[in-house]
């Protein structure tokens, strides 16, 4: 591998963070299980900031409870508040599941959440399940927090063994509701049913209502989560450390697992479809083959616009790796691949890329460092979240918005990136963004391009 390794400046001083905190990821994952209320054990502000951040992206209600630590809980422990919070959630929401994630303050004072929950369940023996994940943000970011909650859900709930069902488990990283819906659609195209964990495609992209429901419709039912070991296989698209690998847990419980890159681009989508073909012993549906053909046709129409273009990609590791692979497939050059995630999974995920001696990979980084790298690398295009807009404006380089968060455009939940169809949208977006920049900068202003 010829990728040159560059690291962030020696100081950990962060200027414009490229990651959110771990409980955000945990809360987002929780939104993908039917009838769930996430509870953050710690200060009130954490829950509110995270809600605001998620609401600005999804433009949907997102209720996250807090055990509302004050000074005395910080000194003496938050057991009473945790129990009070669980009770108040039950009264208000009547959920099927409560998930608990720990904030920095709870982690720092060393709350023994396992024991606190055991004490609660002892007093409330008929209580619905409670799943908790340790999510200290002095260790992890939102991507890791997301996977930690999925791992906790699988460990605790996916326990039912039995004869195989015609289902496939999908463990997606943070993708859009549209992506989740399309993944399910592709699996259905092969005559199988998908159990997605999480699946917030309805809970965070819901329909208009005439009266408010405490819990949004949608999410993977608890019964389906429970039966995940009975699926034919688990397709794991997430990049995590071994310890957090939920597919490993499922494999130990009898469901074989397959690690896959996000299906972005023809080859990556082919890999997923081949696997679904094997598992189902069905051929791909004709609509999917048609979409593949149309995508290739689009590649032919647009290939010259993207060839050799220098692209900086930033965001969660799975999306960055998926987009980088797709860029290489169409002849563009992913010269900067950056993530704020701290789990050090991006570099190895990028190993299959064709060598590019200019390529820089930044992990556990922040926008200050990404911008510095861009000044040297001079990309033609930036692909990433809307938090890259300041940098794009500063650098005078166009930004194609993908991933999370997108706070300055409408429709983040409807952005599709996966499958042949999603790749087509991404491809059109890339070509048109480049054309628009070219057209705007041109003294002539041709109307045919």
């Amino acid at each position: 591998m010829t990728c040159t390794a560059r690291v962030s400046p020696p100081s950990q001083t962060t200027v414009n963070p490229c990651t959110l905190c771990a409980p955000l990821g945990a809360a987002l994952a929780s939104a993908g299980v039917r009838g769930t209320v996430p509870l953050l054990h710690g200060g009130q502000g954490c829950a509110t900031y995270i809600r605001r951040y998620l609401i600005s992206h999804f433009r949907e209600p997102m209720d996250i409870a807090s055990s509302s630590f004050g000074e005395s809980q910080t000194v003496f422990g938050g057991e009473a508040n945790l129990h009070r919070a669980l009770t108040n959630i039950d009264r208000q929401y009547k959920p099927n599941l409560i998930t608990v994630a720990t904030t920095c303050v709870a982690e720092t004072i060393g709350e023994d959440v396992e024991r606190l929950l055991a004490n609660f369940l002892e007093k409330n023996p008929d209580h619905k399940p409670i799943v908790w994940a340790s999510t200290p943000s002095f260790k992890d970011g939102h991507a890791e927090g997301f996977h930690a909650m999925v791992a906790a859900l699988v460990a605790k709930l996916a326990t039912v063994a039995g004869p195989k069902k015609k289902t496939v488990n999908l463990l997606p990283p943070i993708v859009s509701p549209a992506d989740l819906r399309h993944l399910r659609e592709i699996v259905a195209g092969f005559g199988l049913e998908a159990t997605l964990l999480p699946d917030y495609s309805d809970t965070l992209d819901g329909v208009i209502l005439d009266h408010y429901r405490p819990l949004p419709d949608g999410g993977t039912p608890l019964e389906d989560v429970a039966e995940m070991p009975r699926s034919l296989a688990t397709l794991d698209f997430s990049l995590t450390g071994k310890a957090e690998r939920s597919s490993q847990t499922l494999a130990e419980r009898g469901c074989p697992s397959k690690l896959l890159g996000l299906p972005i681009g023809v080859r990556a989508t082919d890999a997923m479809c081949d696997l679904l073909g094997e598992l189902s012993t069905n051929a791909a549906p004709s609509w999917l083959s048609q979409e593949r053909g149309r995508l290739l046709d689009a590649y032919a129409d647009g290939h010259k616009y993207v060839f050799g273009q220098r692209v900086a990609v930033f965001g969660d590791p799975e999306l960055v790796a998926g987009i980088a692979g797709f860029l290489a497939e169409i002849g563009a050059r992913p010269i900067l691949c950056a993530t704020g995630a701290r789990n050090r999974t991006l570099r190895s995920a990028l190993q299959a890329l064709p060598a590019d001696e200019e390529r820089v990979i930044l992990e556990d980084t922040h926008y200050g460092a990404i911008e510095d790298a861009c000044r040297t690398l001079k990309p033609d295009l930036l692909i990433g979240s809307s938090k890259g807009y300041r940098m794009a404006r500063e650098l005078g380089v166009p930004l194609l918005r993908v991933g999370f968060p997108i706070h300055d455009r409408i429709g983040a939940g409807r952005l599709l990136q996966v499958g042949y169809r999603g790749t087509m949208q991404l491809f059109d977006g890339i070509v048109n963004t480049l054309l628009e920049a070219k057209q705007a900068a041109s003294p002539v202003g041709f109307s045919y391009l």
């Binding site: 100081s11 950990q12 001083t13 962060t14 200027v15 414009n16 963070p17 990651t19 959110l20 905190c21 710690g42 200060g43 009130q44 502000g45 954490c46 829950a47 509110t48 900031y49 605001r52 609401i55 433009r59 949907e60 209600p61 997102m62 209720d63 996250i64 409870a65 807090s66 055990s67 509302s68 630590f69 004050g70 000074e71 910080t74 508040n81 945790l82 009070r84 919070a85 669980l86 009770t87 108040n88 009264r91 208000q92 929401y93 904030t103 920095c104 303050v105 720092t108 200290p136 943000s137 002095f138 819901g206 208009i208 209502l209 005439d210 009266h211 408010y212 405490p214 938090k387 300041r390």
Partner: protein, 463 residues
């Protein structure tokens, strides 16, 4: 299923009646598990100090608190924009174990060297309070070396409510105030407290004062500059707009420097006119009073016909509002009434008893008043009170939209100035654009109501 307020929140939701104000339980920590719309102490301090544009704002703690407050307010600057970057010491596990002072010091020196700010604010977050970093000592040491004020803001999230964060910010500002030269400050001078120049609102208000012949020594903290804040003690009057956040500072300045203060609001034409007259009156200068009268006359003549045009469409609409402080709520109730809109649901995150009494007085009978409410309560009362348009912040927006109800952002993130006379027109335009949009007639809630109440039928709706 009838809606029931949580036991822990009884007394925090009331309905205005015929006789006098009902006591509202308030000024207490949010009930655990209630899903409050409030943030924390850190948030209170951060929003107040945020607009100071030539200062470095360093959030000391793990990365989240800085990430969530990056570019969070629409507070504009006419020059430097240091406030729009997000700096964090990004504490990691080893710092939690070994202490974060070393990292704080190295980050401070690094950032002060890189950005050359006029001052630095260091915000202590929850973790820092627990691990016991001596933030003040680090600030003092670095300040002595780098030659700018480095001010600790002890606003650990768990310390209390957002209000306690305002107090922390007050303490930080008081360290700057009184350190500048006030020799050039004239007798007709004021500070504007509690305007944050969201969408350029301070500029609108400053222009009025310029026309009145009143010198604005400093705005705390809209389009804020360290050197202006240092001179704030030279002003003869403090004009307090966001009373919730800035009354403590106004009181402290009265005590320390003998500067009297007036509480005003620049939302709505009535309140704006009243505010300007009040300032002119307090300054006691006949020429200023005359100029103020002329200004108010001129501005009202300009905007009143526009407001009347909006009122024709809006008459009879019903509004709900949920805002940070009560003073904004009073103004909004009046401003909406002028547009023919009745407020039927009103609440605040941080109101106190006295403020809730006043709020009940300005509201009509049968208005639901909520303190530190949550999403479920709001969703219930917007339907129960038959609200057409909701005024609040980003967290309230999806509740309104999900139910097919109009919404107007009157919080930090708004991009349209809503203060002053022209702001009143902008506010009316916003309310009009959302409350009279034809899309609502397609929504299930409206369709259902239309079938029961033909007065709203437009002919295109199905029964």
């Amino acid at each position: 299923m009838t809606f029931k307020v949580l036991e822990d929140r009884e007394g925090q939701v009331i309905r205005t009646g015929k006789q006098g104000a009902v006591p509202v339980t308030c000024n207490k920590a949010s009930a655990a598990g209630s899903v409050s719309q409030r943030a924390c102490t850190f948030c209170g301090s951060r929003v107040v100090l945020y607009p100071i544009a030539d200062a470095l704002h360093l959030v000391h703690g793990p990365v989240g608190c800085a990430a969530y407050t990056w570019d969070i307010r629409g507070a504009l600057s006419s020059g430097p924009e240091l406030h729009r970057i997000s700096c964090s010491t990004d504490l990691r596990e080893r710092d939690i174990v070994l202490g974060g002072e070393g990292q704080l010091e190295s980050s401070l020196r690094d950032l002060v060297g890189r950005y050359a700010p006029k001052a630095a604010f260091v915000y202590a977050t929850c973790v820092v309070g627990v691990i016991g970093d001596d933030v003040a000592a680090v600030c003092k040491r670095v300040a002595a070396d780098v030659g700018i004020p480095v001010i600790p803001v002890m606003a650990e999230g768990f310390r209390g409510t957002k209000r306690d964060g305002y107090n922390a910010a007050t303490g930080a500002l008081l360290e700057l105030i009184g350190t500048g030269d006030v020799s050039g400050v004239g007798p007709l001078s004021i500070n504007l407290l509690g305007d944050f120049n969201v969408a350029g609102e301070s500029w609108i208000i400053k222009e009025y004062f310029a026309r009145m012949g009143v010198e604005v020594v400093s705005v705390l903290t809209g389009d804020g500059r360290v050197d202006e804040i240092r001179r704030a003690h030279g002003a003869k009057l403090n004009v307090v707009q966001c009373a919730g956040s800035m009354t403590p500072l106004a009181k402290a300045m009265q005590e320390k420097y003998g500067i009297p203060f007036v509480r005003v609001s620049f939302f709505g034409i009535e309140d704006t006119a009243h505010a300007l007259y009040e300032v002119a009156e307090k300054l006691g200068n006949a020429e200023v009073k005359e100029r103020t009268q002329a200004l108010v006359r001129e501005e009202i003549a300009k905007v009143l016909p526009q407001l009347k045009a909006f009122k024709r469409d809006l008459q009879g609409k019903r509004a709900g509002l949920y805002v940070g402080g009560a003073f904004k709520a009073f103004s909004l109730v009046r401003a909406l009434r002028q547009l023919g809109v009745t407020v039927a649901l009103a609440g605040t995150q941080t109101g106190n008893q006295e403020e809730y009494d006043e709020l009940q007085k300005v509201c009509d009978e049968n208005t639901v008043v909520v303190d530190d409410t949550n999403a479920l309560e709001l969703a219930n009362y917007v339907v129960e009170q038959d609200i057409d348009v909701f005024i609040g912040g980003v967290k309230e927006r999806p509740i309104a939209y999900k139910l097919g109800i109009g919404f107007c952002d009157h919080n930090h993130e708004r991009k349209i100035p809503l203060a002053g006379f022209q702001g009143a027109v902008a506010f009316a335009r916003e309310i009009h654009a959302t409350a009279t949009s034809p899309i609502w007639s397609l929504m299930p809630r409206r369709n259902r109501r239309a079938s029961k109440a033909p007065r709203l039928a437009t002919g295109t709706e199905k029964p």
